[in-house]
């Protein structure tokens, strides 16, 4: 070895050492590439260099970086096939370095390159391998022809080993870094998704979380229960662009039959991945719409991933990630991440929906438990599937006894109850039929309606026993009132007909008696009509009560005086008053009450007797009592006589007429004067009605 040679060797060793130091400091793949292509190329005394790696598919070689080559020389060489007839492809295929001294030799070995770079000289391509596995190659071009001696070759191979290790290490580091970022992102996303059941809100947040780390644009679409595509979220760093995207969505609503994009993914349930968005796809979507073309161009869409939100075999929606102005085109790893993200989001949406359904079910159960109407669900075989508490109350049969049993066994009267109920289809107007039925030993009136649907029949039961009783009272009243009107009407009509007879000569006494009959019966008619009207006003709370100071003795005396004028001979009427204290009441209304009570006392004393009106003071109130020695009132009817339309003797066989409203009116009036009306009675011995009114304050 000459001195020059040894000095050259030492120089090469120093340069290699320098490169090794730089590579040791480089962390990212870019830093490693920069170091190799500057200091490494310089150390190798080369003019230019490039580094290519085998792609994910194992079939193509991508040039990661180059230095020293003219742009024009590299055009078309960004990536090429592993089996291409080029030195780099061959090195990566074989793992053996290639040393070419000049262009002539190059053209001989690689005829396809003959038309390129004729001004070139020596060329070296060395493999980049780690642990025996070749993952790429480095090319070095020189500015002169060189016959590579073994030590020079060894220097290039050493440089390649250093570069390979540094590049592999940095790529591993970058991959780990990416993986960690993705894991962090997924963890954040999962936390977000599990934070609330409001998935509309959550998915919106998820879309925002994906921007800009995962995408320039992230949109989330959901299939509504009606099967329509609803855009749930659009995220972009610029809120202005988000607004604009929504406008765009309105202007260009998604076509459910579109061959690509969200509708396609929703239909197929399969992800759609465009590492590079094909021009023709955009052209197809745009058509002749110049405005849309301008918008799409402005968006600068590069690469898209659209993944379905799938849970339990159903596609609930889709997540679309778009790489545009900043994000690099998507890779298979991005697709994997998107699929995982969509999987988690779908589970969250599904859970939220299931929870909502469960909650809806629970609410429905609560409603059925507390609704006042009985609800019974029978299956096609008439077996009880639902029996709510109101049904228990109406039928007296517990849910536990009823569930799972044929309804006829549970309630023997069921057939009688429902045989006349028209069953309508869902949504039909279910008309309840009111049926009398003995349930649990009691007679009840039950309004029943039924709806027949696919899985059985649902019945609604309403206990209308009280309403029915009221209705009966009302119809009894109408009958009673009409009967009561007939008698005076018959007298008036009959008297007039008789008076007008020209074939009969009436005595003057008869004539006078008929006229008197017309007068008194007409008045009786008027009185009955008045009572009906007054009862109506009381119901509507439209009766004016004027509370003023009045002397109860005076009112009582006037009532006695007027009653005495048409008193049956068998009745004696007495007034006993020992309180002069004025009271606070409506004088006319009090008179009305007392007239009615005295009338009743006389009316219900058919065998005659004493009727006494007594005014006295007790416990700071004024008591006005009307007592008789008449028929009396059976104990079980004492409370009911104050009910509207209630009559002691509805058949009126005892000949005691009335509208059935008198006592109802009396009690209502007294209570409106801040007083009370009560009764004590002993059947056969007589009754005592007591009006209690406040003294003047």
């Amino acid at each position: 070895m000459s001195a020059t040679e040894s000095s050259d060797a030492a120089d090469r060793a120093r340069r290699l050492q320098r490169v090794a130091e730089l590579l040791a400091e480089a962390v990212t793949p870019q830093q490693v590439l920069d170091s190799i292509l500057t200091e490494g190329v310089k150390a190798a005394e080369a003019r230019a260099g490039s580094i290519g790696v085998l792609g994910e598919d194992g079939k193509t070689i991508e040039i990661l970086a180059q230095r020293g080559y003219a742009e024009s020389a590299m055009a078309g060489w960004e990536s090429f096939a592993l089996d291409a007839p080029t030195p780099m492809s061959e090195v990566i295929r074989t793992g053996d370095a290639i040393f070419i001294p000049d262009v002539t030799e190059r053209n001989r070995l690689y005829p396809s390159l003959a038309d390129r770079g004729q001004d070139g000289h020596a060329l070296v391509v060395v493999p980049l391998a780690v642990e025996g596995r070749v993952f790429g190659a480095m090319s070095l071009s020189f500015d002169r022809d060189i016959q590579f001696e073994p030590d020079r070759r060894e220097m290039k191979l050493t440089l390649a080993r250093q570069a390979a290790q540094a590049l592999a290490r940095s790529r591993l580091y970058a991959a780990e870094q990416t993986l960690r970022e993705r894991m962090t992102f997924l963890a954040e996303a999962s936390e977000l998704l599990s934070s609330t059941l409001d998935y509309n809100h959550t998915l919106g947040q998820l879309a925002r979380l994906s921007v800009p780390g995962l995408a320039d644009w992230c949109t989330i679409d959901i299939v509504s229960p009606e099967g329509e595509i609803e855009r749930l979220a659009v995220a972009h760093q610029d809120p202005e662009k988000v607004r604009w995207a929504y406008e765009l969505q309105d202007r260009y609503p998604p076509d459910p039959d579109a061959p690509t994009g969200v509708p396609h993914v929703l239909r197929t349930g399969e992800p759609e991945f465009f590492p590079t968005l094909p021009e023709e796809l955009l052209d197809q979507a745009i058509g002749d719409d110049e405005e849309l073309r301008r918008i799409i161009d402005e968006l600068g869409l590069k690469s898209t991933i659209c993944v379905p939100l799938t849970a339990r075999g159903r596609t609930l929606g889709a997540v679309t990630l778009i790489a545009a102005e900043t994000h690099p085109p998507y890779t298979a790893a991005d697709l994997e991440l998107a699929i995982e993200l969509a999987r988690r989001a779908a589970v969250a949406v599904d859970n939220a929906r299931l929870y909502r359904e469960a909650e809806r079910g629970a609410n429905a159960a609560r409603a059925l438990a507390y609704v006042a109407d009985g609800v019974v669900l029978l299956d096609h075989d008439g077996v009880v599937r639902h029996w709510n508490p109101a049904t228990e109350a109406i039928t007296g049969v517990d849910e536990e006894q009823a569930l799972g049993c044929p309804v006829g066994e549970v309630v023997p009267a069921w057939d009688a109850l429902t045989s006349h109920v028209p069953l309508v289809p869902p949504g039909g107007a279910a008309r309840p039929v009111t049926v009398p039925i003995v349930l649990n030993g009691r007679e009840r009136w039950v309004a029943v309606s039924g709806v027949k649907f696919d899985d059985g029949t649902v019945y609604a039961l309403q206990d209308v026993t009280e309403e029915h009783a009221l209705e009966k009272t009302r119809s009894d009243f109408v009958a009673t009132a009409s009967h009561e009107l007939r008698t005076p009407l018959a007298a008036v009509y009959g008297a007039v007909r008789t008076l007008r007879r020209d074939d009969v000569e009436l005595s003057s006494d008869d004539r006078a008696a008929f006229l008197e009959m017309i007068e008194s019966e007409a008045m009786r008619l008027a009185k009955i009509v008045d009572q009906i009207l007054l009862a109506g006003q009381l119901d509507a709370d439209a009766v004016d009560i004027e509370l003023t100071e009045c002397d109860p003795q005076e009112v009582a005396a006037a009532v006695i005086e007027s009653a005495a004028m048409h008193l049956p001979e068998t009745i004696t009427l007495d007034l006993e008053a020992d309180s002069e204290q004025p009271i606070r009441c409506d004088e006319n209304k009090l008179r009305q009450v007392l007239v009615n009570l005295v009338d009743n006392a006389v009316k219900y004393s058919p065998e005659g007797g004493r009727v006494e009106l007594r005014v006295r003071r007790a416990n700071g109130s004024c008591l006005i009592e009307v007592a008789d020695e008449g028929l009396g009132i059976p104990a079980d009817e004492r409370d009911r006589i104050f009910e509207k339309f209630y009559r002691l003797d509805p058949q009126q066989t005892q000949g005691v007429g009335g509208s059935g409203l008198g006592l109802y009116i009396c009690r209502e009036l007294v209570e409106r004067m801040d007083g009370s009306l009560r009764v004590e009675s002993e059947p056969g011995k007589g009754s005592r009605f007591t009006v209690e009114l406040p003294l003047r304050r």
Binding site: E484, R486, L489, T498, V504, L506, F514, G655
Partner: protein, 126 residues
């Protein structure tokens, strides 16, 4: 009184009572050809009077025409059961009451008493 004046005008002899008890006594004493019986009366009502008349050998055959404000089918049936031969619902025209009584008596004479009874509940309310 309405009936008395109008029946008298048809040439009939009329006995008038103001309540059930008095009417029953009068029927037993006078044995009329026919009783016009008001149902709603103080004290003894018309149904009770009819029952007592039917229970008495001496008055059992006296035909009864009920006068009443009650037009329910149930009341008509009761009238039929109590042996009535007529059922007049108020208000009615007293001028024609004489014709009605005569008609009933003629048909009874003809032996149509049972038919008259059945007509009570089959007749519709006016």
């Amino acid at each position: 009184m309405l009936c008395r004046v109008n029946l008298a005008a048809s040439g009939m002899e009329v006995f008038e009572a103001s309540d059930g008890r008095e009417g029953l006594d009068l029927a037993r004493k006078e044995r009329p050809d026919l009783v016009l019986l008001d149902v709603m009366m103080p004290g003894l009502d018309g149904w009770s009077v009819a029952r007592e008349l039917a229970a008495d050998e001496q008055t059992r055959e006296i035909p009864i025409v009920f006068l009443t404000a009650r037009a329910d089918p149930a009341d008509r049936r009761l009238g039929e059961q109590l042996g009535g031969v007529g059922y007049v619902v108020k208000p009615f025209d007293p001028v024609s009451i004489g014709d009605l009584v005569e008609g009933v008596l003629v048909r009874i004479e003809r032996g149509e008493r049972d038919q008259l009874r059945r007509e009570i509940s089959s007749e519709r309310e006016r």
